[in-house]
Symmetry: none
Subunit: 360 residues, 2 copies
């Protein structure tokens, strides 16, 4: 399959990496030429030659939401025999803009891979970003069956699970499972801005998890939220109603009265969270956990990491992901070494035998 | 040290496991005898013999918040020469109840390890639960120095970083870094309760992270939130104000008017979340430090990381944080090497001179 990717940010680059690995022919373009060149350097595909007339089977528009409809229109026009899809987080607004512009929708099928990271840009791209994730396709009545097939094939080729949802249903769903969670993370993190240093120092893993996506790009997210304003507001209003009830219950308890029902309101809220949380399909269902983590204690002195990696190489293990963070002056850091599950025991035992402290 | 743990839930059991490993003598009790027996079976300590007169140096009350003050009073009474601490998530309410009961506060020092899990009970206990976490101690003017020392020793023995904060300041801090994040996770998860199956199926990693702690125990959290009602409500009201602003901005965008300022409100909210998130210290409790990142292209084959770290050691740079992630079979990964700003140029030049591709 010949796939042309317009926009080499996180999603476009990851798609290029995945399709290249799958054996497809991928060409890349980006409004900023150096971004496309970086994606090429990372192995996401090739840049078109000067004056080369591309003949893609499928064009994937992976630009920010605000320019998605315009880029889809351009693509339909530039490649009159290609199928065109986009991967924007919002589907209704793109479709409405295309209709308003009088686009021929036969060759267009909107889509949305439910995969992302809190970091953006080609440099954060990963070939396995889509692995085991849902990939929504939103064909209209006009979409040709062979166009839908092409988009479905691409999603399948990169390991995604295809789910068919009309644009409006998609937008209502992502308001609850993605857009409002993003806002909640940002609102919680914003409360830390003016906090004393002594207070922020008490942060634990719960706060880190709740606010991880609060590191996301404001420009991108403003486009996403504005593009899905109606559906997001509806979910947000429901959340605000629950929040007011909790706040009133806390006020009653604070007043030191008997506060009948106040504890019940709080317990009901936490219990409703339990029930909602239990509905989320687990990592092992939708997105299988690929790696096993081996945790190693690292003394905070130069040279130890070099010794660790020399030992890992000696043992013959390939590291899939590696993460270390510890602050200046802390006696120890914990290195998290992610490897394929089959290699974990050998690595842990090999490191322990070489004097490293392995952590549960 | 002889430590007696009252309450063998997640925290009490984990403490027993950690102190036993450290070589301390730990005895266990719980209002439910089978819970204490389970903690013993897991290796958290021993049960007192029938009629045995315990002589603990320190009693740690690790019961739910609602009964903490009563258990501290009992402990002060039962062991007239022991120091007593508790590990409740709320410190002001416990202290107020002790004062109201006329307790002798010389042998008492409240504390709070900033460690927990979304799962409770002895069976979820881990010896490394406290490793690298903050452990707040809240002595009063009456607390004897040797009592504070004992609590500090225990926190240090299990790998925690001790932080001293008065009870009221502690409660205000945890409202922002723990209690409101818990509520936000629950409120977001509660929105999923009535969602269509097709919609829940679109859940991605962002939602999973934001709502992980929404699986927490309603009974325990009702006690915690009720015990810190005033401070929690204050943070919650700030969050609600921000939320209303976003909701109004979305309504303006939905109305399809020009909505001057609406996008600005949303972008400001996400940006405030960025700023707040950036203040969260690294895993090991150290203050956040502005490091400079040097990005290095790494071929995906065994041995290259070892060579990289050998070169880093040769150049003489200490690595503060290190992050690498790439998937199996991808031609390149990008290693992010964080160092103190003064060392960045030398490192980048030294690595480039040794043949590494450095990426802006």
């Amino acid at each position: 399959m010949r796939v042309h990717v317009v926009g080499t940010g996180l999603v476009g680059t990851s798609l290029g990496l995945a399709l290249t690995r799958h054996g497809d022919e991928v060409t890349l373009e980006d409004a900023i030429a150096t971004h496309a060149a970086l994606a090429r350097d990372l192995g996401a595909g090739r840049l078109p030659g000067e004056g080369e007339a591309l003949e893609p089977d499928l064009v994937v528009v992976a630009t920010p939401p605000d320019v998605t409809a315009a880029c889809v229109l351009t693509a339909l026009d530039r490649w009159p025999s290609a199928a065109v899809t986009d991967v924007s987080s919002v589907k209704g607004a793109v479709l409405a803009a295309l209709r308003a512009a009088g686009a021929d929708l036969a060759r267009y099928c909107g889509s949305h891979p439910m995969a992302g990271r809190e970091r953006s840009g080609a440099v954060s791209g990963r070939h396995d970003l889509f692995d085991g994730r849902a990939w929504v396709v939103s064909p209209t009545d006009e979409t040709l069956p062979e166009v839908l097939d092409l988009v479905t094939d691409v999603a399948g080729a990169v390991g995604s699970v295809v789910r068919r949802l009309p644009a409006q249903e998609h937008d209502r769903a992502v308001a609850a499972v993605s857009h409002v969670p993003q806002l909640a993370a940002s609102l919680v993190a914003a409360r830390l801005e003016a906090l004393d240093e002594d207070a922020v120092a008490l942060a634990g893993q719960g706060l880190r998890d709740v606010t991880r996506i609060a590191a996301s790009d404001p420009g991108l997210w403003t486009q996403i939220l504005a593009g899905n304003a109606g559906a997001v507001r509806e979910v947000l209003e429901g959340l605000a109603t629950d929040l007011r009830a909790v706040s009133e219950a806390l006020a009653a308890l604070e007043a030191g009265t008997d506060a009948p029902g106040a504890r019940g309101t709080i317990a009901t809220t936490i219990a409703a969270g339990n029930a909602g949380h239990a509905r989320i399909p687990g990592k092992h269902g939708a997105a299988p956990t690929a790696y096993t983590t081996v945790r190693v204690l690292i003394p905070d002195e130069p040279g130890h990491l070099g010794r660790l990696f020399a030992h890992v190489a000696e043992i013959g293990t390939n590291i899939e992901e590696f993460h270390l963070d510890h602050g200046l002056g802390q006696p120890f850091g914990i290195a998290e070494v992610d490897v394929v599950p089959a290699a974990a025991t050998e690595l842990a035992e090999g490191l322990a035998a070489r004097g490293w402290r392995i952590h549960g």
